[in-house]
């Protein structure tokens, strides 16, 4: 391998940083076109380099010791970037989504200065750095870089009340989560005296699982799971997603949240596994996944604010991701990695569609927009198709990923998970289809939505209502959907994903690559692709989604049937909605509860 490949990982971070700094310095004098072009160019540069890395990781891990501190006798004082297939894949996904968001922004904001682009580029660098780093504290730094920029991006629309509160909730809860992580890093450092994943792993081998490592690991995970929106650490997500600019939501839902889960998987596999056997972690992740999936799906159904609905569908999907991750074996995680990419494409397209609607009609409220968007043909098709894809319509990437994950889960003996995954994707997809049918087709009647967070007071992100939707807004929507569709058709993808998951779960291989320079990986063995029953189950979940959508649209016709619903059914539902209070104090209490539950969970299993 030429040494230049080793230079790529730090460049993926450095290039957007430099461009961001230059744009910030010259943003006042540069014309908007130059700013757009420069940020897009640097993003494409990152995308291209990520693809090169992705290709290079087929045969080996790409290890770059920053500062040139290559290890001597297995120890070093530096920080390392270790890029394996999952890391390179995530970097590619991040860059692709940022490219889509930047294309969409071409005409989106009227601000003449470069601040939005600068923030997005910093966000890009932070996310890529987090995906590539092999050092616990360095991961915290990139985590905070992502965070600090994300808070500002969320509150970007200062003219409105809601984005500010959403950004504040997001910022406080995420910061508190990050401090939990740092406390955990301190505890782990106290035990191991190391910060690199690989060094920690080697220091932990042979150690007993005592309270110190359990609490330390739980604290580190708490920070990641706050970002990963696992219930009950998820409250910030809906608040922030509902109000952030739509292109930013694409990045939040599509990859930032998933990076939180990646953080858990990576630190466990590369650092913590010697004191936390898979049997201990598995039930905790799965339990968290089930609760998250159920809460997300239930809350998703109850929303009439389009972006908030999509946000809760992300929570539901996070639950499914957690379950698949919890299997901790290559087949399920391979499926999961395809699922995450497919979900990012589809959810991104859906968020951008709601951005188009917001700009064209000045609202994202399902009831208010009833039948209002019939004459947005492209958006209409894309939104409804996105809803179907979210419900895992074959051959979208969401379907392929989900069916592979389900296969992996049922091979591992988790048959129940299969039903749950189908149910949750049907419900979230159904909720999107219901909203889409009402808005774009005028189906059903306006729902009754008192006391909700309504989408009607949102202000468009351009200063004028767009008479004609600019093509730069529609291109990324179509491109994302097309990408999500193609993903399911790429031959050999299941094998590659399975291989990537095996690399992710290869504890000792990671340490050997980082510290001993043994970076070659075994070439992938072909794995089975999707099956006929997987195809049929995909169709089934789409049909179920249609049923869910129809029920939502025509529920009033059966109102009499539902008038005698016992309070046993409605009470938990109401309690759930009350819990999403938007109150910071509540969220802090929930964070502490989540952290303690996580610790206790890891301790008793």
């Amino acid at each position: 391998m030429p040494p230049t490949v080793q230079a790529l990982p730090p460049l993926l971070v450095a290039v957007p940083l430099v461009v961001a700094a230059v744009l910030a310095a010259s943003g006042r004098v540069l014309p908007r076109l130059v700013i757009d072009a420069a940020s897009m160019l640097s993003c494409l540069l990152v995308l291209g380099s990520s693809v090169v890395l992705l290709a290079a990781t087929g045969s080996r891990r790409v290890v770059s010791w920053l500062g040139g501190y290559s290890p001597v006798d297995g120890s070093s004082v530096g920080v390392v970037f270790v890029v394996d297939r999952i890391g390179a894949g995530l970097a590619t996904l991040i860059a692709a989504l940022v490219a889509a968001a930047l294309t969409y922004t071409w005409r989106y904001f009227d601000e003449v200065e470069s601040y939005f682009h600068v923030l997005v580029l910093l966000f890009l660098a932070g996310m890529v750095g987090f995906a590539l780093t092999g050092d616990l504290f360095n991961a915290f730094v990139f985590f905070e870089l992502m965070g600090a920029v994300a808070y500002a991006l969320t509150g970007y629309k200062i003219e409105e009340a809601k984005p500010l509160q959403g950004a504040l909730n997001f910022a406080v809860i995420n910061s508190l989560g990050a401090y939990c992580s740092l406390l955990g890093i301190g505890l782990i450092y106290g035990r191991t005296g190391e910060l690199g994943f690989a060094q920690i792993q080697r220091a932990l081998i042979g150690q007993s699982t005592d309270w110190l490592v359990l609490v330390g690991i739980a604290l580190v995970f708490t920070g990641f799971l706050v970002k990963g929106a696992a219930v009950p650490l998820h409250f910030w997500l809906a608040d922030a997603h509902a109000v952030a600019p739509s292109p930013v939501c694409v990045l939040f839902s599509g990859v930032m949240v998933e990076l939180g889960l990646y953080g858990v998987a990576r630190t466990w596999s590369a650092a913590f596994w010697p004191v936390l056997p898979a049997e201990r972690l598995r039930p905790v992740l799965m339990a968290a996944g089930v609760v998250t999936a159920v809460v997300g799906a239930a809350m998703c159904l109850a929303q009439s604010h389009l972006k908030r609905l999509l946000a809760f569908s992300t929570v539901g999907h996070v639950g499914m991701f957690l379950i698949a991750l919890g299997a901790l074996e290559p087949a399920a995680i391979g499926g999961l990695s395809i699922y995450v990419v497919g979900h990012a494409a589809v959810k991104g397209a859906l968020f951008l569609c709601s951005g188009v609607v917001l700009n064209a009609r000045g609202s994202v409220d399902e009831a208010e927009l009833h039948g209002q968007c019939r004459n947005l043909p492209v958006t209409r098709i894309c939104f409804l198709l996105g809803g179907l894809a979210l419900a895992a319509l074959p051959p979208f990437g969401t379907w392929l990923g989900k069916t592979l994950a389900e296969d992996g889960l049922s091979h591992g003996g988790f048959d129940w998970a299969e039903y749950l995954l189908i149910g949750v994707s049907a419900i979230t997809g159904g909720a999107v289809l219901r909203a889409g049918a009402r808005i774009f087709l005028g189906a059903g009647t306006p729902p009754d939505t008192e006391g909700d967070t309504r989408g009607s007071e949102e202000q468009p992100e351009t200063t004028y209502h767009l008479g004609k939707i600019p093509v730069t807004m529609l291109v990324p929507v179509v491109a994302l959907l097309a990408g999500g569709l193609t993903l399911g058709l790429v031959p050999g993808l299941p094998t590659l994903a399975h291989d990537a998951a095996s690399q992710l779960l290869d504890h000792t291989g990671y340490a050997a690559a980082a510290l001993d320079g043994v970076s070659a990986v075994p070439s992938p063995a072909p794995t089975e692709s999707w099956t006929l029953s997987g195809l049929l189950l995909g169709v089934l979940s789409v049909l179920l989604a249609l049923v869910v959508a129809a029920t939502g649209l025509y529920l009033h016709r059966f109102r009499r049937l539902f008038s005698q619903v016992p309070p046993v059914v409605t009470l938990p539902f109401r309690a759930l909605r009350t819990a999403h209070s938007g109150h910071l104090g509540d969220y802090v209490v929930w964070l502490l509860i989540g952290m303690t539950l996580l610790t206790i969970g890891l301790a008793i299993t």
Partner: protein
């Protein structure tokens, strides 16, 4: 004394959280968040302490002198700057919230109820 500094760190974190939970004022909320964050420096520096050692600066002491852990100090330095900047963003949000909501009492911010 063997665990006192660690316990002080835990105490600061919890007290910060208590402040966050009970806060009537977002400015106070932000202040409490910095208290919770200070737990992290106290813990890190306590973990890196070496009894009877000097600071890790070899300006006046010969090379080879026992020094305390410089790594955690570097981490804490990074952390302090991060804390200050996040505080700035939060305070900026607080100011804008005051302008848009007319209040900085979290109990009165009701726009994101489900």
């Amino acid at each position: 004394m063997t665990t006192l500094p660690y316990l002080v760190a835990g105490w600061l974190f919890l007290v910060g959280c208590y402040g966050l939970v009970t806060s009537h004022n977002l400015v106070h909320t932000v202040a409490c968040l910095t208290v919770a964050q200070s737990a992290t420096y106290v813990l890190l520096l306590a973990v890196g302490f070496r009894a009877g050692a000097t600071a890790p600066v070899f300006a006046d002491v010969p090379v080879g002198t026992r020094v305390v852990d410089p790594v955690v100090q570097a981490l804490s330095l990074t952390d302090i700057v991060v804390a200050a900047t996040v505080t700035a963003v939060l305070l900026a949000l607080t100011i804008q919230i005051y302008k848009r909501h007319g209040t900085v009492n979290p109990d009165e911010l009701r726009t994101l109820q489900d």
